[in-house]
């Protein structure tokens, strides 16, 4: 029996290939995700290992928490180390050398060629002091910087932007901008670039001056004398440190940084794996479908096996063995494909700013095992139902001219409805209920819903397919194609279901994005009152010096800075926004539910959004215990609650409160009103010119431009999601190709007859094409319906967060339908060509 299985597999190589392809892509993406994140981790480990290789101990401020990977961008979060700590550390027994260091972010290098700030996607722009004893930085050309006029830049930035030693560059620091001479080019921990970040290195006194850190250090790096144990040295140094500072070994500093990075990469991995699993889910449908069709086609052969004495179990296992072989081969190829995909994904996230140092791909045994188990498991699981059906083929059918009877429709309806219902319940529980791990529950619910609808879809496949086919029925080829699509509603429906999943998710994202944009536009129109908004691309903060510069200019009546910092409230991570309560009302319309915005001018006060206040039970007079990284827990008195809006986060404090609790003060945005009497256009032009000259990373936008900018940011995020979902859509196309190919194989005689009575090759192709288009559009219609429902559910769930209106992007959805139809045409190319090429005589005499 095993040999028969292998033979039948090899006899149909093409089918094997197409079936396997569905698994290959899903496994490939999953494996690619693992390979990418493992490779990234490895390169970070190497990098940090190098960076701290010569550092025995690091002295740093203690912080209440480590800001996450998506930090607010402040270079340091704790209170800097007073300069007088350094001699104490140097005096500790076993210390060979100790140097103070300061850093800041953003410190931006202006490209002399373009006049724009150099930035690699979303990667940070660091400024650092030169530490002569450190092994972090190595000069590869020129000299280390010395004196108030010199800077060293990282090798990657230098080569990307043709910067050379001796050249003058403009650099923007927290204290303003100035011109410096490049004294040298440096490498960071042996790498040309620190993950895509730009580096500007000054000598210590210059850096302290530029970064507003005179008399203070952010870190002290300690080299140990020969033979001294770093742990003991750290303990000894801790003994001389004032309160609020800690000494840790270089190794644990590296480990801490690695932890942060691996946490960030963990998010990336989870996010990408979701798309890999969706692709595998879609692949499962195709496997199921292929095996089902094959079992039908082979029912006579299987019946013959049974008649010759094969047991049911043997037939069952023969199909399962076939699926195991397909699964194993496909998963193995998938791992190889994954390695290539990892390279592509690396480029994709590189474009988003995270440039990984070049390292050999890391393909860990875990990646291979998970991929093989996942790919093979899914393939076998999808083949179980067809295998069971195969085992039920009665021996007598070998002698009959009939198709294997299919399971009762009633059972399918009951089972399908139950699965759909379970899916809907899980979905709603995840969205509206308070379950732990809501994301997983929602995902499970969505998966079950798709599965349930797929099971029910044969019920409405016939009328839907007939309706979709109507426009094609005018010509005989279209009529036949449409009849063929209707011939086996189950086959049509389950082929369409694969596409339904991909397009369903695309439609869901489209509906959600459109609703988000509508709501964002509406909120911004309501809230934003400032004439002009200054902010930086990629939402990175900029120097508060800009606002100070503008405040002196009589052209502007209001200059209101807007700041943001990470904080913890009751264990949950949040971003707190800071405004000036005196000027805020002139630049934004904050609708207070209770209390007053003006009271925010009192020290240690906070206003809370309505949703957060309701959720956490805060009201005017109650206390919010907010934990800042630098200052730890601070009790803040609630002086008001406000209607949730698109500008202010859940917790908003005054600039004064912010400045006392946040170490490095940077502006996220500055709102500007033009003074009366000054023509708006002139004010805008002047401001744009000034900013372009002195703060090139900052954009000036009027109200319409600002809204546009916010919408573009939303679009950008969703564009990535679309690209990742494309994978599933492509896989489902293979499903259509596969089904059509197998159907043609079944209908050879019929095709021969049509050709014999005069149907041209073109008409045959058109017939197949129509069938493919109907399947694709059917999948799209079901997908769009589910997608809209999902979008609606999501919008309802997030109503409290300000997504008030459901917007169904009709144009976009119609475009998706058209694209689906075109995809059907593409999927039909190969099967149609094959059908048209059939030899007429062989076809009509085909047994």
């Amino acid at each position: 029996m095993f040999r028969a299985t292998v033979k039948s597999l090899l006899a149909r190589k093409l089918r094997l290939l197409l079936t396997a392809l569905a698994v290959v892509l899903g496994v490939g993406f999953t494996a690619g995700t693992f390979i990418l994140t493992d490779t990234a981790l490895k390169s970070f480990d190497d990098l940090f290992g190098n960076v701290y290789a010569g550092t025995a101990v690091v002295v740093q401020p203690q912080t209440a928490f480590k800001p996450g990977a998506a930090g607010d961008g402040s270079g340091t979060t704790g209170t800097p180390i007073p300069a007088n700590v350094l001699p104490k550390v140097q005096a500790v027994d076993g210390v060979a050398a100790a140097d103070g260091s300061v850093s800041s972010m953003p410190v931006q290098i202006v490209d002399p060629a373009t006049g724009d700030v150099i930035r690699n996607g979303g990667a940070p722009q660091f400024g650092n002091s030169w530490d002569p004893d450190s092994t972090q930085l190595m000069t590869v050309a020129g000299e280390s910087p010395s004196g108030p006029d010199q800077v060293a830049v990282d090798a990657a930035t230098a080569s990307d932007h043709d910067l050379s030693v001796g050249q003058r560059v403009r650099i923007i620091t927290p204290t303003g901008s100035g011109e410096f001479t490049i004294s040298g080019i440096v490498k960071f921990g042996g790498s040309n670039s620190f993950l895509g970040a730009t580096l500007a290195i000054f000598d210590l006194p210059t850096a302290q001056k530029l970064f507003e850190s005179v008399g203070r250090f952010d870190f002290i790096y300690v080299k140990g004398a020969g033979g001294v144990d770093p742990d003991q040295l750290a303990a000894r140094i801790s003994g001389v440190l004032p309160k609020g500072y800690e000494a840790i070994t270089g190794a644990s500093a590296a480990a801490q940084q690695q932890d942060e990075v691996s946490q960030g990469l963990g998010f990336l991995r989870t996010g990408l794996l979701v798309f890999g699993f969706v692709a595998l889910f879609v692949g499962a449908f195709i496997i199921f479908n292929t095996f089902n069709i094959v079992v039908t086609q082979r029912s006579r052969e299987l019946a013959l096996f049974r008649a010759l004495g094969a047991t049911r179990r043997q037939v069952l296992s023969s199909v399962l063995i076939e699926s195991t072989i397909v699964g194993l081969i496909a998963s193995f190829v998938g791992v190889l494909v994954g390695a290539f995909l990892a390279v592509g994904l690396k480029a994709l996230i590189g474009a988003l700013g995270l440039k990984l140092p070049p390292t050999a791909l890391v393909i860990s045994p875990r990646t291979i095992i998970v991929s093989l188990v996942l790919g093979t498991g899914i393939t076998v699981a999808a083949a179980i139902a067809p295998a069971r059906r195969a085992s039920r083929v009665a021996p007598i059918e070998a002698l009959r001219e009939s198709v294997a009877p299919s399971a009762s429709i009633r059972r399918r309806v009951i089972f399908g409805s139950l699965v759909t219902l379970a899916g809907a319940v899980a979905l709603f529980a995840g969205l509206f209920g308070s379950v732990s791990n809501a994301g997983l529950v929602v995902g499970l619910g969505a998966g079950l819903t798709f599965l349930g609808v797929a099971m029910l879809s044969p019920l409405f496949a016939r009328p839907l397919a007939a309706a979709i086919g109507r426009p094609f029925r005018g010509k005989i080829s279209g009529k036949l194609g449409s009849e063929n699509a209707n011939r086996n509603p189950r086959r049509t429906a389950s082929t369409a279901a694969a596409l339904m999943i991909g397009l369903g998710l695309v439609a869901f994202v489209a509906v959600f994005a459109a609703s988000l944009k509508t709501s964002a536009t509406a909120t911004l129109s309501k809230v934003l009152a400032a004439d002009l908004t200054l902010n930086s691309d990629q939402f990175s903060p900029f120097s508060p010096q800009l606002a100070k510069d503008l405040a002196k200019n009589p052209e502007y009546s209001v200059v209101a800075p807007f700041r943001q910092a990470e904080a913890h409230v009751e264990q949950s991570d949040t971003f707190v926004t800071a405004i000036d309560p005196a000027t805020a009302p002139q630049v934004m319309n904050v609708e207070m539910d209770s209390g007053s915005l003006a009271d925010l001018s009192e020290p240690n006060t906070v206003i809370v959004s309505r949703t957060e206040a309701e959720g956490k039970g805060f009201a005017v007079g109650s206390t919010v215990n907010m934990k800042f990284a630098a200052t730890g827990v601070q009790p803040l008195r609630v002086v008001g609650t406000f209607e949730t809006n698109g500008l202010l986060n859940d917790y908003t404090i005054s600039l004064a409160t912010y400045d006392t609790n946040v170490e490095q003060v940077v502006d996220q945005a500055v709102f500007v009103d033009v003074a009366s009497g000054v023509p708006f256009d002139k004010a805008k032009a002047d401001l744009t010119a000034f900013v372009k000259q002195n703060y090139p990373s900052v954009n000036v936008s009027d109200q319409a431009e600002f809204k546009q900018q916010q919408l573009a940011a939303i679009d950008q995020v969703f564009a990535i999601v679309y690209v990742l979902l494309l994978l599933s859509v492509i896989i489902s196309l293979f499903g259509i190709v596969n089904t059509l190919g197998l159907s043609i194989y079944e209908r050879v005689r019929e095709l021969g007859l049509l050709r014999a009575v005069g149907m041209s090759r073109r008409q045959v192709k058109r017939m197949i094409r129509v069938e493919a288009v109907i399947i694709a559009v059917l999948g799209a219609v079901l997908g769009l319906a589910i997608g809209i429902l999902f979008g609606w559910a999501m919008q309802q769930a997030l109503k409290d967060l300000g997504i008030n209106t459901l917007t169904v992007p009709v144009g976009q959805l119609v475009a998706m339908l058209i694209v689906a139809a075109l995809l059907g045409v593409v999927a039909a190319i190969w099967p149609a060509r094959r059908a048209a090429k059939l030899n007429v005589l062989e076809a009509i005499t085909y047994e």
Partner: protein, 246 residues
């Protein structure tokens, strides 16, 4: 040796067909020159392997001769491109096969008008009605093939072959799968088309009773046309077959 007919609907000249190459090659037709009269029912008979199906396939443009020429009317079809052959089959030829004659997704009526629909031509309603009436299938027109008996299916195939008024109809063992009553109904129907409407039909059969409905029977043996009989009857055909075997 063979009768020349008054008006020729189709003819072959030195038709040879060889399958395979070298030692494995089989010569199915060994140079056949024949004429098929217009408005006649010609039966081609012979034992299995005599080449009668190959002859029919070559005549109908379904198979490519190795040598020789085939004319439908005045057209040498061995010189036609694939596209023109398809159009020829569509416009000038009708087919009735032994089995699998009908498209299962189409109704009887749609199957009958299939060649016209493929060509995008209008149905001549009067002619359609006449054909349907002679088949006696008027009340079965809306049925799918699976809902028809074997005899009914073959009559639908016959009606399809006639409805586009082709120059010539080729029937390949049309009664091969039918019981004797259904066979007779189908043959009467085909005979009627020839007598009543001047349709030309060439029919391959191994059934002497079926051949008895023909105007002329051509006998094939080992790829050669070996004999013919005009105005045959079933008994005379059986006698002739016996004499050919010996």
């Amino acid at each position: 040796m063979y009768s020349t007919v008054t008006k020729v609907a189709a003819r072959t000249e030195g038709l040879r067909k060889v399958y395979g190459e070298g030692d494995a090659s089989v010569e199915a037709l060994r140079g056949i020159t024949l004429e098929f009269g217009a408005a006649e029912l010609t039966a081609i008979m012979g034992a299995s392997g005599s080449g009668k199906s190959t002859l029919l396939h070559c005549l109908a443009g379904l198979d490519e001769p190795t040598e020789g020429r085939v004319f439908i009317g005045d057209v040498d079809i061995t010189k036609l491109s694939e596209r023109h052959l398809t159009e020829l089959r569509r416009d000038k030829i009708g087919f009735v096969f032994q089995a699998y004659n009908l498209i299962p997704t189409l109704t009887a009526q749609e199957n009958i008008t299939l060649p016209l629909d493929i060509a995008g031509k209008d149905v001549d309603q009067a002619w359609f009605d006449e054909v349907i009436d002679t088949t006696g299938l008027r009340d079965r027109l809306a049925h799918k093939p699976t809902e028809l008996s074997g005899g009914q299916q073959q009559r639908v195939a016959g009606a399809r072959a006639l409805v586009s008024r082709p120059e010539i109809v080729f029937a390949d063992e049309p009664t091969g799968n039918l019981d004797s009553r259904s066979s007779e109904e189908l043959l009467k129907f085909l005979r009627g088309a020839v007598t009543g409407h001047g349709q030309t039909i060439v029919m391959v059969t191994h059934d002497a009773k079926a051949a008895g409905f023909a105007d002329r029977v051509v006998f094939l043996s080992d790829g050669n046309a070996v004999d013919e009989m005009l105005d045959p009857t079933a008994e005379r055909i059986l006698d002739r077959l016996k004499s050919l075997e010996t």
